[in-house]
């Protein structure tokens, strides 16, 4: 199995642990991930708000790169996934978008024909991997770990090609297969507030609070996510939220790939567990899943590296 890999900007900085854990898991499962050569930002929601036509040019250039190497492109960041999938859909659906994209890309020396598919790690791990391939690699099943799987918006909306839009199950299924227990997290598809947590915190942060509170109410040990923005919002603003809601206890928020990696017995450092603001390692040790000490940051942390290929 071999795919093109589009990290996106977040996975090179605030969401580094997602990239690290995802690539580590892929290596262990012998799934080839070729990072797209000189990819560009997908445009996110912001670019679309400024320049609609060019937002599609921006997004499809990455798809054109994937097409060059003849591979489908895997996009772990739910935001990037949503943007690239939307551009692909609109490329097929609207001739105006198709014309704009074709013209724009041609000017830059690129071409996209709509062949390269946009895939998400949840999709390929659930559907492309042979059954039991993951289970057979489990060394430390996540026994006793109660997980709230949080999917957020863009993996399941506006379209949901690999999961149930109203009750997504792929992440639950994967984590179940590595031994974790799921809580019935009724808010799994609700919005985390997106960029509003930064721009209009009084509107954005209450949404994170609702999500965290419900996870606590269900007595989850940890929230698993598949999106760097969701992860950041839920984890990093907990102090901020606690100022208004002092009863809110800390809740570890991790990437689902980190939990899979732990279950596969991979080195916590390779999974970026040390990048947690709300640490998870003590909890994993308490449950007997991890042994030894907390992974310490390396003596000299390399700067959040971009352009690595």
């Amino acid at each position: 199995m071999r795919y093109a890999y589009f990290p996106g900007c977040s996975l090179k900085s605030s969401g580094r642990a997602y990239e690290e854990s995802f690539l580590a898991v892929c290596r262990a499962l012998e799934i080839g991930m070729d990072e797209l050569d000189d990819w560009n930002c997908c445009g996110a929601t912001a670019y679309m708000s400024v320049d609609e036509a060019n937002s599609h040019v921006l997004a499809t250039r990455n798809l054109a790169l994937a097409e060059r190497v003849g591979l489908d492109v895997v996009v772990p960041c739910a935001g990037c996934y949503g943007v690239l999938a939307k551009s692909k859909e609109y490329f097929e659906k609207y001739s105006s978008v198709r014309n704009a994209v074709t013209t724009g890309l041609a000017a830059g020396g690129f071409a996209y024909e709509g062949r390269a598919q946009v895939r998400h790690p949840l999709d390929i791990l659930s559907n492309d991997l042979p059954p039991r391939a993951l289970r057979s690699k489990v060394k430390k099943p996540l026994k006793g770990l109660k997980v709230a799987c949080y999917y957020g918006c863009r993996l399941i909306r506006p379209v949901s090609p690999f999961d149930d839009m109203h009750d997504p199950q792929t992440m639950d299924g994967l984590l179940k297969s590595v031994g974790a227990r799921m809580v019935e997290y009724g808010l799994k598809g609700k919005c985390c507030g997106g960029s509003l947590t930064g721009t209009v915190p009084e509107a954005g942060l209450p949404m994170c609070y609702d999500l965290l509170k419900e996870a606590h109410r269900l007595e989850a040990d940890v929230i698993a996510t598949a999106c760097p923005l969701c992860q950041f919002n839920l984890e990093c603003y907990q102090d901020d939220i606690a100022k208004k809601h002092p009863d809110l206890k800390p809740m570890p928020v991790v990437y689902f790939t980190q939990l899979i990696g732990v279950a596969m017995g991979l080195d916590p450092k390779d999974l970026g567990l040390h990048r947690q603001i709300v640490p998870i390692e003590p909890l994993l040790r308490e449950k007997g899943i991890l042994g030894g000490e907390d992974a310490k940051p390396k003596a000299k942390e390399p700067a959040a590296a971009g352009g690595r290929s």
Binding site: C9, S13, Y47, V50, Y90, K93, A100, A107, G109, C153
Partner: protein, 196 residues
Amino acid sequence: MDPIEREIRYESDRDPTFADEIRAMPGCELMDRCIQCATCSGICPMSDAMELTPRRIIELTRNGFKNDVLRANTIWLCTSCYQCQVECPKKIGITDIMYALKSKAIESGAYGKKFTIPILAREFYAMVKANGRVSESRLVQRLFMKTQPTRFLGMGRLGMKLMKTGRFSNKVERMRNPEGLRRALEALPTDGRKRS
């Protein structure tokens, strides 16, 4: 006491081309079949903070009340979570309409100055245009410095933690060769920079 304001709209308050401009954008074409059922407003996680609920935005937009629509905080509070769009019984591309309205607002400069989102959008846009990629930490710093300097200072502790865990740095992210992308983005006449 606040002065009394009369709430009435005349035909001259309507922008005759506004609705057509929005309708012409991809994903926005089905606006006219809205039955004002309010599912969008009911499902929207932000609707309780909005001056006009999404339902009202649709109604005002299709009737050409451009000023009312672009002045409201609604479009800037849309997080693009797509819940309204997937639940709309008439399959109207509500989130796409919100995007279209955001671009109209930025284009015409008609947004409330207290909103930082358009500024974020513009900063983001400029950064992508220059480097092909976004340097998250720089973007956040620029935005906060420009809009909420006090909050920025209050976030110092989080910033430190992020630096320590390697999730935040001042390095500028850029493509190896952004030329091709730049040419691609400049090929279209609808380029936002030229338009605004």
